[in-house]
C-alpha cells in the first residue's frame, strides 16, 4: 500500500514538474542574418540559465519584417530600420539590439594591413569609378610614405541583398552628394557603371574576390575581416582623424550617436561626430507589435532582451559585435514600459 502511495505521489510530482516546464514556451524570432551569431550565442546561454528556448531563424531583414508583420513570429529583426510612418502603420515598436562595424578591405601588392589611409570622399569616388588606379594622386596624397603601384582598381560589392550593403551605401550617401543623388542607399543597389565592379556572394564571396584579385577593394563586417586576416585600411573619422578599426573606435561611434532625437530609434550610426568615432558602424534592430495577445509571453521575450543587454556585452565583444551603450538601453526600457500593451494594459512595470 505504501509502495502504491509513493508511486502515485511521485508520478503526480513528475506530472506537476512536467506541466511547469511545458509552460516555458519557445520564443520564435526571425530576420537579419548579420546578428545571427550573437543572437544564437545569447539564446544558448539564456537557455542554460532559465530553461527558456529562443529560436532565431536568420532569414534576412526583409524576411524578418514580413514575418513579424504577418505575426508568424514573436519578434522580427532587421538591419534596415523601419521609418516612423511605417512603424505607426504596422503598430510596432523598434529598438536597436547590438551593433557591428564595416571595414574596407583591399588587395594592393606591398600594402600591409592597416597601412593605407582612406577618406570617405576617396572611398566614394573609388566606388563611383572616378578614381580608377591605386596610384591616383588623391590616394598618394593621403599616403605620402607608401609605395603604391600603378594598379587598376576593381571594386568588389555584395551580389546578394544585405544589411552590410545598406549601411555601407548609407555611409557613402552621407559623405558624397553625388552618391546620394545618383546611387542612394539600399540592401541592394545599381552599382555605378564607371567602376569595374565584381559581385561576391556574402561576406565570404567578397573576401574571396578581394583576396585573390590584385587591385581589389571591398567592404566586409569587421568580424569577418579580423577572423580572415584581410588587409583592412584606415579611414578618416567625421572630424578628419585617421583611425584603425578597433573596438574602441567602434564604441566611440556608438557613444557619440544622437539616439535622443531619433524617433523609433531610426538611426544609422554612420559618420558620427567625434574624432575617434569609426565612421561605418551600424545597429541591428528588433521589431515587436505594440499590442501583445499574450502578456506573459511578451514579458518572457522582454526578459530575454533585458538579460542580453545586461549580461550579453562580453559575449558580444567576443564575437566582435559592439554592445549598446547604457544610455540607449535606458531609452529602450522606457519604450518597453510605455508602448507594449496587452488588452490595453501595459506589460512591463
Amino acid at each position: 500500500m505504501k509502495l502504491l502511495k509513493s508511486i502515485v505521489m511521485s508520478s503526480m510530482l513528475a506530472a506537476a514538474s512536467f506541466s511547469a516546464s511545458a509552460k516555458t514556451e519557445v520564443i520564435n524570432g526571425a530576420g537579419a542574418s548579420f546578428p545571427h551569431p550573437i543572437y544564437a550565442k545569447w539564446a544558448e546561454e539564456y537557455q542554460k540559465e532559465t530553461g527558456i528556448r529562443i529560436n532565431y531563424q536568420a532569414i534576412g531583414s526583409g524576411g524578418g519584417i514580413r514575418q513579424i508583420t504577418a505575426k508568424t513570429v514573436d519578434f522580427g529583426a532587421s538591419d534596415a530600420p523601419l521609418n516612423e510612418e511605417r512603424l505607426d502603420k504596422e503598430e510596432m515598436i523598434q529598438f536597436p539590439m547590438v551593433m557591428g562595424a564595416i571595414v574596407p578591405v583591399i588587395n594592393v601588392p606591398g600594402i600591409e594591413p592597416g597601412a593605407l589611409k582612406l577618406t570617405g570622399e576617396v572611398l566614394a569616388d573609388i566606388y563611383l569609378g572616378k578614381i580608377k588606379k591605386w596610384n591616383d594622386e588623391r590616394i598618394t596624397a593621403l599616403n605620402p610614405d607608401l609605395e603604391i603601384p600603378a594598379q587598376a582598381i576593381y571594386v568588389v560589392h555584395r551580389s546578394d541583398g544585405s544589411g552590410t550593403t545598406y549601411n555601407f551605401t548609407d555611409y557613402l550617401s552621407q559623405i558624397s552628394p553625388e552618391w546620394s543623388e545618383n546611387i542612394g542607399r539600399n540592401t541592394d543597389i545599381t552599382w555605378p557603371k564607371a567602376a569595374t565592379t565584381i559581385g561576391g556572394n556574402g561576406n565570404a564571396g567578397v573576401a574571396n574576390f578581394v583576396g585573390r584579385t590584385r587591385g581589389a577593394i571591398g567592404y566586409v563586417e569587421y568580424a569577418f575581416a579580423k577572423q580572415n586576416d584581410l588587409t583592412y585600411t584606415q579611414l578618416a573619422s567625421a572630424d578628419g582623424k585617421f583611425l584603425k578599426p578597433s573596438m574602441e573606435t567602434f564604441q566611440a561611434a556608438a557613444a557619440n550617436a544622437d539616439w535622443q532625437n531619433a524617433p523609433g530609434f531610426e538611426l544609422l550610426l554612420n559618420n558620427q561626430p567625434g574624432a575617434d568615432s569609426w565612421p561605418m558602424t551600424a545597429a541591428t534592430f528588433i521589431l515587436m507589435h505594440k499590442d501583445q495577445a499574450d502578456a506573459e509571453k511578451a514579458e518572457q521575450i522582454i526578459d530575454f532582451f533585458e538579460w542580453s543587454y545586461e549580461n550579453g556585452g562580453e559575449l558580444a565583444e567576443g564575437l566582435d559585435y559592439i554592445p549598446m551603450p547604457e544610455s540607449v538601453v535606458n531609452m529602450v526600457e522606457n519604450v518597453w514600459k510605455e508602448d507594449l500593451t496587452s488588452n490595453g494594459q501595459t506589460i512591463i512595470k
Binding site: 534576412g60 524576411g63 555584395r158 551580389s159 540592401t187 545599381t190 552599382w191 574571396n208
Partner: protein, 303 residues
C-alpha cells in the same frame, strides 16, 4: 467480367485525376505569382519585360537584364554541353570497351547527383581563379582585337561573369544529356548495327547515319531537359555570375540571371515594390521557360 471493368474505370479515374491535378497546380502557381507581383506588374505594365533598369533605391524595375543573363548563360551551356554530351554518349555506348565505359558511366551518373551549390562553390573557389589565369588573360591579349566576337572577351579578367556561369551550367547539364542519350543508344537492337556493318558501313557511318538518326527524338529530349535545368538553375549561377543587373556585350562582365536575382535579393528586400518586382521576375521565368520549351518542341516536330 464486372470486376475487371470496375478496375478499369477506377484506374481511368485515378489517372485522369492525376492529370487534372497537374493543371490545377500549374494554374495555382501562375495565379499566386500574378497576385504577388501585381504591384510591380500594374506599375510597369507589360513593358516590365523590356525595361533595362533594376534600381531598388528608386523602386524602378525591369526584367530585361535578368532575361538577357538567363538566356545567354543557358545558351552558352547548351552550346558546350550538347556536342560534348553527345560525343561522350556515343563513345560510352558504341566505342569504349566495357572496362572503360562502366566506371565512366557511373561517374557521370554521380556527377548528376552533385548538388548545385557544390558546383557553385567549386566554380567560385576552383574554376574561377583557374579560368582567370588560364584563359581570360590570354583572351584579353589575343581575342579582343578580333572582328565580330572580339568585344565578347573585353572585360576584367576576374574569373566570374556570364561566360563562367555558362560553363558551370554546362558541367551541370552534361550528365543529364549524356546519360539519356547513352541509354537511348543502348536500346537500339544489335541487329540494326549488324545489318549496317553487313552492308559494308564503317563505324563512323553506322553511328552518324544509322544510330544517331534513330535516337534523334531522345537526344533532343535530353537537350530540352538540360536546357530546362540551365534556365532555372539558381545557386550555382548566383555564386559565379557576379550579380550585376545590366546588359553588357562582354561575356567576361558580371551579370545576373532571373533566378539568381530572386535568390540573392528576396531575403533582404524590405521595400514592397522590390519584393513584388522579384515575384514578377518569377512569373517572367515561368513564362520564358514555357516559351523556350515550346519552341524547342516545335523545332523537333518540324524536322
Amino acid at each position: 467480367m464486372p470486376s475487371a471493368i470496375k478496375g478499369d474505370s477506377i484506374f481511368y479515374r485515378l489517372s485522369f485525376t492525376s492529370a487534372i491535378l497537374i493543371f490545377l497546380v500549374l494554374i495555382g502557381i501562375i495565379l499566386s505569382l500574378i497576385d504577388g507581383g501585381w504591384l510591380a506588374l500594374s506599375e510597369f505594365g507589360p513593358g516590365f519585360v523590356f525595361r533595362n533598369v533594376w534600381d531598388p533605391v528608386n523602386s524602378e524595375f525591369g526584367a530585361a537584364s535578368a532575361i538577357y543573363g538567363t538566356l545567354v548563360s543557358s545558351l552558352i551551356a547548351i552550346v558546350i554541353a550538347i556536342p560534348v554530351g553527345l560525343g561522350t554518349a556515343v563513345f560510352l555506348a558504341e566505342l569504349a570497351p566495357d572496362w572503360i565505359s562502366r566506371p565512366v558511366s557511373m561517374a557521370i551518373e554521380l556527377l548528376a547527383a552533385v548538388p548545385s551549390i557544390i558546383y557553385g562553390m567549386w566554380g567560385l573557389f576552383v574554376f574561377a581563379p583557374w579560368f582567370s589565369e588560364g584563359f581570360q588573360f590570354w583572351a584579353l591579349e589575343n581575342l579582343v582585337g578580333l572582328p565580330l566576337i572580339g568585344h565578347w572577351f573585353d572585360g576584367p579578367p576576374i574569373g566570374i561573369g556570364l561566360l563562367t556561369a555558362g560553363i558551370i551550367l554546362s558541367f551541370m547539364i552534361l550528365p543529364i544529356i549524356t546519360a539519356l542519350t547513352r541509354d537511348a543508344l543502348k536500346t537500339i537492337p544489335n541487329v540494326v548495327r549488324e545489318a549496317a556493318y553487313g552492308v559494308g558501313a564503317t563505324p563512323y557511318e553506322v553511328i552518324t547515319r544509322v544510330l544517331l538518326p534513330s535516337i534523334k527524338n531522345a537526344a533532343v529530349g535530353a537537350g530540352i531537359l538540360g536546357l530546362g535545368r540551365a534556365l532555372g538553375e539558381t545557386m550555382a549561377v548566383a555564386f559565379v555570375i557576379g550579380g550585376a543587373n545590366r546588359i553588357e556585350t562582354s561575356l567576361f562582365m558580371p551579370a545576373s540571371s532571373i533566378s539568381s536575382t530572386i535568390a540573392q535579393q528576396f531575403n533582404e528586400a524590405t521595400n514592397e515594390m522590390h519584393i513584388s518586382a522579384l515575384i514578377s521576375l518569377g512569373l517572367v521565368l515561368f513564362v520564358l521557360t514555357f516559351i523556350v520549351m515550346g519552341a524547342a518542341r516545335l523545332l523537333l516536330r518540324k524536322r
